[in-house]
């Protein structure tokens, strides 16, 4: 990253009551960059956003926005936009009034506010809805208004806290695209947190995984997915973890093959199978009781015994040594683990 970062988080720790929710979290966000933070529920994603916004106080570490340490700076002076799962629109104001809320608070001239609101409405397909009130909008439309309203404040950084979690799946992909386009067009940097790995990997220019309050270093989404840094990262990203002689290794459900009757490989039994997309998803258990997911072109009959083999597997470092990414390892059927 060549340009000066918009946000620098350095060794940030946050304690809520007796629980240390974040520990030594460090990362940066560049101008116009969209960083996706992925993690399971309770991993500290929301606390991280709330601390950057100023709603929570850091126990130690610094948050610098636009080069300035914002410790002690109240929320309304941080120039941060915030979107949460609930769009929290003002129900008694029209879409236009919602979008114009922050510019009017900033005492910008009315023609400029109208022009800005119109431009954002156009960008987020809201132009025909400007006179409506939030109660007349769908969930997706309300979330678009919330983003337009946040961008109208011209923030340095927008924080997106699972904003698509309550949106119907069939329009979610459209919203991903619209949000990304709007953020790009406005040149605003953003941090997006989610527990949905598809969403996180799709949206982020860079992606990082957060577990138990500790953040893995961010990287390109493809790299984060292809080279998980720990067992729990691999598990979270959808890999199967199989025990091997030198420790566990990770195999994607697409890379597993099941042969019945067994001609080698790891003995396994089909527990359940059902359609998934164009093929089938099967759940199997190995002779050592390890649960494994497998994608296949044909359905598998529950109770069938056979052998599992694979072409590509990743050797994984232990969870407490999460500083090195997994090593690719090509192997044919790893005998008896």
């Amino acid at each position: 990253m060549l340009a000066e970062p918009i946000l620098e988080v350095d060794r940030l720790s946050v304690r809520l009551g007796r629980t240390e929710v974040l520990r030594d979290v460090s990362f940066t966000v560049g101008p116009g960059e969209l960083l996706s933070l992925l993690g399971p529920n309770g991993s500290g994603k929301t606390t991280l956003l709330r601390t950057i916004a100023g709603f929570e106080t850091a126990t130690s570490g610094t948050v610098r926005l636009g080069g300035r340490d914002v410790a002690g700076v109240p929320v309304h002076r941080r120039s941060i936009g915030l979107l949460v799962q609930d769009p929290v629109l003002f129900p008694h104001r029209t879409v236009l009034e919602n979008i114009a809320y922050a510019p009017l608070l900033q005492r910008r001239p009315e023609p400029e506010v109208r022009e800005l609101a119109g431009r954002l409405a156009e960008l987020l397909s809201l132009a025909a809805l400007l006179d409506r009130v939030p109660g007349e909008l769908s969930g997706g439309q309300q979330q678009r208004v919330a983003l337009a309203r946040a961008l109208a404040a011209r923030p340095q950084l927008v924080l997106l806290d699972e904003p698509f979690a309550s949106i119907d799946p069939e329009i979610r992909a459209d919203l991903y695209a619209e949000f990304r386009a709007a953020l790009r067009a406005s040149g605003t940097a953003a941090i997006h947190v989610t527990h949905d790995r598809e969403e996180g990997l799709f949206l982020g220019d860079r992606t990082a995984l957060l577990f138990g309050g500790r953040l893995d270093p961010p990287g390109r989404p493809e790299a984060v997915f292809a080279r998980p840094r720990s067992r729990r990262a691999a598990r979270f990203l959808g890999y199967n973890l199989l025990p091997g002689p030198d420790g566990p290794f990770a195999v994607l459900p697409e890379d597993l093959r099941f042969d019945a009757p067994r001609e080698g490989g790891v003995p396994a039994t089909v527990r359940a199978s059902g359609p998934s997309g164009r093929g089938y998803l099967a759940i199997l258990s190995t002779d050592r009781g390890v649960r494994v997911a497998l994608r296949s072109a044909t359905p598998l009959l529950p109770g069938t015994e056979g052998g599992l083999t694979w072409e590509t597997a990743l050797e994984l470092p232990p969870d407490d040594a999460a500083d090195a990414p997994a090593e690719p390892k090509n192997r044919e059927a790893v005998g008896t683990p």
Binding site: A53, F55, E56, T57, G72, P74, V75, H76, R77, R78, I80, G81, L82, V84, D86, V88, F90, Y101, A102, L105, Q106, A146, R149, A150, A153, P155, L159
Partner: protein
């Protein structure tokens, strides 16, 4: 809807309606008819409205109620903001502890004020200028304020918690400063909460009984006192009934407004609210915290003074002498009833009142969960006893049911009913929130498995409101223990049914102050035990 379902609803609705009709509506209607229908009915009404005593009583009620409500609002609002909006160590316990003064009779607060700033009080002794607050209107207002300000604090806190943290944070992130955040987010709900508290303070203070008599005398007597005097002392039941009718008409407005605001407050609860860490860099945070500290300190000092004085009276005497005096035969002879009997009556009547309250509560909850259109108005009707005030309720019950029951211990039935009816509206509030949180599918799952409506309610809904039911029982029990006005109406002429609050009231005019202090301390200890149980239940909920 199955036939069994309809039958169960009908039984619950008819049961509650019949109870209210028999013990509230019919007796009250009969009382008012009695006040208006006699040969002197119209004259009695006119006299109630125009007589010097009636007018003075209304004036005293409005003055005491207005001053108490204004001061309770001014002090309670900022303290409530600190409790409602911020998270700090001990917040849950402090919040429960605030209810303690409300569970005690106003008499204990009277003794506390005298013990603290009275002529021989802990502070009033060395600082004579403080004695101004121990008598007359200042003393009455001080008692009313300290009795009611915790309710303003608790309701303001509930109002703050009815606001949406997401909205507040959104406004702040859009550049809205603290003033804008207040206007857009938590200002209105917190004001509604404080308004509820101030209205309740107004009604309870305007209709208070013991503080005006004990701290000021006849010239400060409220309408409630005047109704009692006309009915029980002057032998003017028609005039008392007429004055009671005027009382109900005058105070119906504020009481109904309180009920409506309280319902609105509950209607907006359940939004996403998160208490925040106090921002000590802002002066307003110090204002909120300082107000809360002032309330806590004043309440603790008051109750502490009662406990202290119960151990050693100012006139000397050995340690624990007040307690020995309280249980002595001479005290029993002076007030006509041994203290052991009063304690037994207090606990028995309160337990029975709590049982009646919980039956009403579960019936009302069952109905509200299945038929809100029927259950909600019936729950609202349970507020009528508060509207008509304790003395009028007692007078109505006594006039209507007294001839059937006769004198003696059978009057205990009416005491239990009065305590239950006066406690129910407040105790049942602890049921409403968990009731609102029951998912629609909770009883449907049991119904789908073949359970009848009552079984589905017991298995699907009741476990989810069990903590609320337990809290309601304890709350009703504590309120019953502390109920004084209605109980005094029946128990004053009948020593066998006297309770601890009644004994305290009789001990003070008899100038048996050490004994009164010991009795008040005993009541305080009993209430503390109930409070500890309520707090323990709250702690179990939190886990």
């Amino acid at each position: 809807m199955t036939r069994r379902g309809r039958a169960a609803e009908l039984v619950a609705a008819a049961g509650i309606a019949a109870f209210l009709l028999a013990f509230v509506l019919a007796p009250t209607a009969a009382l008012f008819r009695h006040g208006l229908s006699g040969p002197s009915g119209a004259a009695a009404l006119a006299q109630a409205l125009t007589s010097a005593g009636g007018a003075r009583a209304f004036s005293a009620s409005l003055e005491q109620g207005g001053l108490s409500a204004a001061l309770a609002g001014l002090l309670g609002y900022p303290a409530g903001v600190f409790v409602g909006r911020y998270r700090w160590r001990g917040r849950t316990v402090a919040r429960s502890a605030l209810l303690l003064p409300f569970l005690l009779p106003g008499l204990v607060m009277v003794l506390g004020v005298l013990d603290l700033v009275g002529p021989s009080g802990l502070l009033g002794g060395p600082l004579p200028s403080l004695r101004w607050y121990a008598s007359g209107i200042p003393g009455i207002v001080a008692v009313n304020l300290l009795y009611n300000v915790p309710i303003v604090v608790v309701l303001t806190a509930a109002g703050c918690e009815a606001s949406s943290s997401d909205l507040e944070e959104t406004v702040a992130s859009l550049g809205g400063g603290p003033g804008r955040v207040f206007r857009e987010s938590w200002g209105l709900p917190s004001a509604i909460g404080a308004g509820c508290g101030a209205l309740l303070t107004f009604v309870l203070s305007a209709l208070s009984f013991a503080p005006p008599i004990l701290l000021c005398g006849e010239r400060c007597a409220t309408v409630e006192v005047r109704v009692y005097e006309l009915s029980a002392i002057a032998g003017e039941p028609a005039l008392a009934a007429a004055l009671a009718l005027v009382l109900v008409l005058v105070f119906a407005g504020p009481t109904l407004l309180y009920v409506l605001l309280a319902r609105r407050l509950r209607a907006v609860r359940g939004r996403r609210f998160r208490p925040r860490a106090p921002d000590w860099a802002r002066p307003t945070t110090w204002l909120w915290a300082g107000s809360f500290a002032a309330v806590g300190l004043a309440e603790s000092a008051l109750l502490g003074a009662v406990l202290l004085r119960s151990l050693s009276s100012p006139g000397g005497g050995s340690f624990g002498a007040p307690w020995r005096l309280l249980v002595s035969a001479s005290t029993a002879a002076r007030i006509g009833n041994p203290v052991g009997s009063a304690i037994a009556n207090t606990l028995l009547f309160a337990a029975l009142a709590a049982a009646v309250t919980v039956v009403l509560g579960i019936g009302s909850a069952f109905l509200t969960s299945r038929r809100p259109a029927v259950g909600a108005p019936l729950a609202l009707a349970l507020f009528v006893p508060v509207l008509i005030s304790p003395v009028v309720l007692a007078q109505a019950l006594g006039t209507f049911w007294g001839p059937w029951l006769g004198a003696g211990y059978s009057l205990a039935v009416l005491i239990v009913l009065s305590q239950a009816l006066l406690a129910a509206p407040f105790a049942l509030q602890s049921l409403e929130l968990p009731l609102a949180g029951i998912p629609a599918g909770a009883t449907e799952a049991a119904t789908a498995l073949g359970a009848g409506p009552w079984t589905a309610f017991v298995d699907g809904a009741l476990p989810r409101i069990r903590r609320g039911v337990e809290t309601a029982v304890l709350f009703a029990f504590a309120l019953g223990m502390g109920e004084f006005t209605a109980t005094y109406f029946f128990a004053n002429p009948t020593p066998a049914v006297r309770t601890l609050p009644v004994e305290i009231y009789l001990l003070v005019p008899a100038r048996l102050f050490p004994e009164a202090e010991a009795a008040a301390a005993l009541l305080l200890v009993l209430s503390l035990a109930v409070f500890a149980a309520i707090t323990a239940l709250g702690g179990r909920d939190a886990r």
